[in-house]
Subunit: 113 residues, 2 copies
Amino acid sequence: MRRDVFQAIADPTRREILGLIAHKSLNINSVTEQFDVSRAAIYKHMKILTECGLLEIKQQGRERFCEGKLERLNEISDWVAQYREFWETRLDSLESYLKTLQGKSNDQGKTTL
Amino acid sequence: MRRDVFQAIADPTRREILGLIAHKSLNINSVTEQFDVSRAAIYKHMKILTECGLLEIKQQGRERFCEGKLERLNEISDWVAQYREFWETRLDSLESYLKTLQGKSNDQGKTTL
DNA sequence: TATATTTGCAACCAAAAGGTTTCATAAATA
DNA sequence: TATTTATGAAACCTTTTGGTTGCAAATATA
């Protein structure tokens, strides 16, 4: 069972769940109401999110409130970041190239690519 | 067949493939050599990456060179970004709270956590 | 106490994912 | 021309995924 953050956010329902609980903690039934699948299905998604640390559950009476731990998404943005540097470097050199062109003829405007 | 960027990067092999071709274009056999699965398996991964725009293929004789289109990862970082703001706000208010304590200060520090 | 509510979890199912082997085809080369 | 190389893709298999229904247990409430 691979259970990493990348796999966790691959599912659109799980992304939606994160969106819901980012703002405020909700119990499992409240989350379920927002979807048209069974509680058991939502529960399984919750479990996956919990197992990779994106979500924490706090018991309160017979209810369990789900709290988002979005910091864990850092793993994702860190991974993307290495390539961002890479592709932005390329875009930067394109940009400076275009600026060079622009400097040569000043009425140029944007060249459609 | 869901075929979005989120699902594409969920698989570790596909993430590795992106890492390989980020630096320079490689043909399919060269990519395959780096893994211990069959060419057909790699080919399928390539296809998925192509279908969601993370990769472009340029024919050159009988070979096909795979070129990374990492800009498409913007979709991922955009999605993460909305939550980044959210959780960094929380961290920022913690930080300013700590600064307030440290400075024993005269400003109205945000203590809402 | 009897009943409602909220949840955990098992058992099961269909479809998707990730892999394999095999064959066909087009391009390069001996 | 005959052969090797690089690839596309079909057929097939196993495991994982995402869903279901149903039941048990614990907490709240009438």
